[in-house]
Amino acid sequence: MTRALAHTLVVAILAALLTVAFWRSGYEFQWEGVWAYRQKFVTGWLTTVAMSLASLVLSALVGLVTAVGLRSRWPLIEAAARVYVELIRGTPLLVQLLIGFYVVANAVGLENRYVVGALVLALFSGAYMAEIFRGGLAAIPAGQRDAARAIGLTPWQSLRLVILPQAIRLVLPAVAGQLVSLIKDSSLLSVIAVSELTLAAQEVNSFTYSTLESYLPLAAGYLLLTLPLSALSRWLERHFAYEAG
């Protein structure tokens, strides 16, 4: 049996089970109310895409700097990077968003909730990116650094010309995977009233009282983003595994 056939079969079985479950629950779908608000879903979806992409770019930078910090010879820098990573990974994003928006942003006079949201999300994801990058950097054999030094590269040149180009290839699949998480995590931005996809669904639900009709498109909206990314991540993994061999 081919992989495509197997996938189709699994999806079909799942769809059948869900249909039966919905049917037995006796739920009566009423799509008209929700359809009237379709524009809200579209803008929410676009906002989710924009917020995720902005956070991804920022978090890649944060993650890279932190990863270099985690490997630093200077204890203070290593400690700062480590504390950041552990604090972020050890606390819920919900708490970080609330503190970031109501306490930190307030204190520094930052009012734009989209900017604050993207920053907090980037700092959150950056901690995970840092671990991904740290793993990538550690996976480059010591001989590469030796060779870079032997030909007379400065430490910065060695990082830029020798280590990073190799490390980035190694971590691309994991970074694509992290983007999948980031997109789903961005749903929490609704708690600071960023009008992304989840908030759109919540609002439509409160206008129409059609809970499932509001949230099923939400799930579809996320899958539309995450499924291709997961596929891309797996493709990158296979592609670069082949090239290394």
Partner: protein, 242 residues
């Protein structure tokens, strides 16, 4: 290259690897380091090449002392070349880009000038047809010959080679050793660590036997191989030579 090493000491944690090692050579072109595994040859060579700093002691070539500060060491490494047992080519670059990288980014040549500079050596050592391959597409012998050309590209004052054929099968070993002989003939100066005793005998001007973190004996190749006064060295050669 007159090499003078004085009181060289190196330790990793509690293990002393080089123990007040002394070595003086004449004004020679090729020095070969031999000796048992774990004796300290790689550790010594890395210090000579400016890759590691010793705990104590000094090294000088032709009266010029190898610096101890990071900036001085960087400048020193730019004037010498190093070849590793595991090639350490950059796997994300083609063979050609491996050669031109130091020329462009360290020695300030334009990419075109760098490619021109390496074209002749690539031809001479029959590597031109492989220039656009990635290291993963090259044989071990081709990889090591590219690595030697990379070390030579900037026309260094001397080369340091650490067991360049230890990872190769006999046929590829022969092609790499042949290249090193040819380099010697055209005047390249080098310090070589090797277990290929027949080759060492042919190519070496002087041989130093490194064991237990010291130079047990050193001198002209003929004396060292035939009638070295040190029993440890005689036993080593007796075991290793046919």
């Amino acid at each position: 290259m007159e090499l003078v090493v004085k009181g060289l000491t190196q330790a990793f944690g509690a293990t002393t690897v080089l123990d007040r090692l002394d070595l003086t050579t004449g004004d020679i072109r090729a020095l070969v380091l031999v000796g048992p595994s774990g004796g300290g040859k790689t550790t010594l060579l890395r210090i000579l090449a400016g890759l590691d700093l010793p705990l104590e002691g000094s090294v000088s070539f032709a009266g010029v002392t190898v610096p101890r500060d990071e900036a001085g060491l960087l400048a020193y490494r730019r004037k010498v070349g190093t070849v590793f047992q595991a090639y350490n080519l950059f796997p994300h670059l083609s063979a050609l880009d491996n050669l031109t990288l130091p020329l462009v980014h360290v020695h300030g040549l334009s990419p075109a000038a760098a490619r021109k500079r390496v074209a002749e050596p690539l031809e001479r050592f029959k590597l031109a047809e492989h220039a656009h391959k990635r290291p993963s597409q090259l044989s071990g012998g081709q990889k090591q010959r590219i690595a030697i050309l990379r070390a030579l590209a900037s026309q260094p004052e001397r080369l340091f080679l650490d067991e360049p054929t230890s990872a190769l099968d006999p046929e590829m070993t022969a092609e790499v050793l042949e290249m090193i002989s040819e380099l010697k003939e055209i005047g390249t100066r080098f310090v070589l660590v090797t277990h290929e005793m027949g080759f060492a005998r042919r190519v070496a001007d002087e041989v130093a036997f490194v064991g237990g973190g010291k130079v047990v004996a050193s001198g002209p190749a003929a004396t060292m191989f035939k009638h070295c006064p040190e029993p440890r060295v005689r036993e080593f050669f007796a075991r290793i030579l046919p």
